[in-house]
């Protein structure tokens, strides 16, 4: 079965600094990949997704992610973090059309002044 690993439980970044959140997936073929964000007290919001085509995908709020098949990774990046980006970030994978999403354990982002 497909699964994702988010190696970093917590990350602290200074406001204005760049950000990279790691996600590794386990699946034989090309999976459907997603990044969701959950702000404190809020529901889950889709940041971006990948299922085919250009391996660099752009999302909302200035985020982007790159699919690297050779590394089984789908890392999330942002060039300059804002204090409002402090949240929990979840990477998710689905094996194929119609399958349920499997989520990683999440990475908690803290943004310092």
């Amino acid at each position: 079965a497909q699964s994702v690993t988010q190696p970093d439980i917590h990350i602290t970044v200074s406001e204005g600094a760049s950000l990279e959140l790691r996600c590794n997936y386990s699946y034989g073929a090309t999976p459907y990949l997603f990044w969701y964000v959950q702000s404190p007290g809020q529901g889950l919001q889709l940041l971006l997704k990948y299922f085919s085509g250009d391996t660099l995908v752009q999302g909302i709020k200035g985020f982007e992610a790159e699919f690297k098949r050779s590394q089984s990774s789908f890392n999330l990046r942002k060039p300059s973090v804002h204090w409002s980006d402090a949240a929990e970030y979840f990477c998710a994978v689905a094996a194929n059309s119609g399958y349920a999403l499997n989520f990683g354990k999440g990475t908690s982002l803290l943004v310092t002044p």
């Binding site: 988010q6 529901g43 889950l44 059309s97 349920a100 989520f103 354990k105 999440g106």
Partner: protein, 114 residues
Amino acid sequence: DVKVTQSSRYLVKRTREKVFLECVQDMDHENMFWYRQDPGLGLRLIYFSYDVKMKEKGDIPEGYSVSREKKERFSLILESASTNQTSMYLCASRRQGTTNEKLFFGSGTQLSVL
């Protein structure tokens, strides 16, 4: 605006009680899902349903059952609640055949079992 509604935001129950968590969506979606969210464990899939009267076990179905009698409603049932089922429960829905599209999530039910 599209909506997934979970009937209770907070719920407190006693051990061995039978608990019903209700989820209703107004988007005519075929697929519906139940996840639980625990600190440090992320979201874990309990059950999902591809369509009315269909259900599939997720990763952690033990202690739970589900009911999907109508397309818009997907109920999660704790047959005999236990303290280790204290958690945030999230319902989600999606149109059939749109795995590449986002899930629509409800706002969650925080269940405490005492």
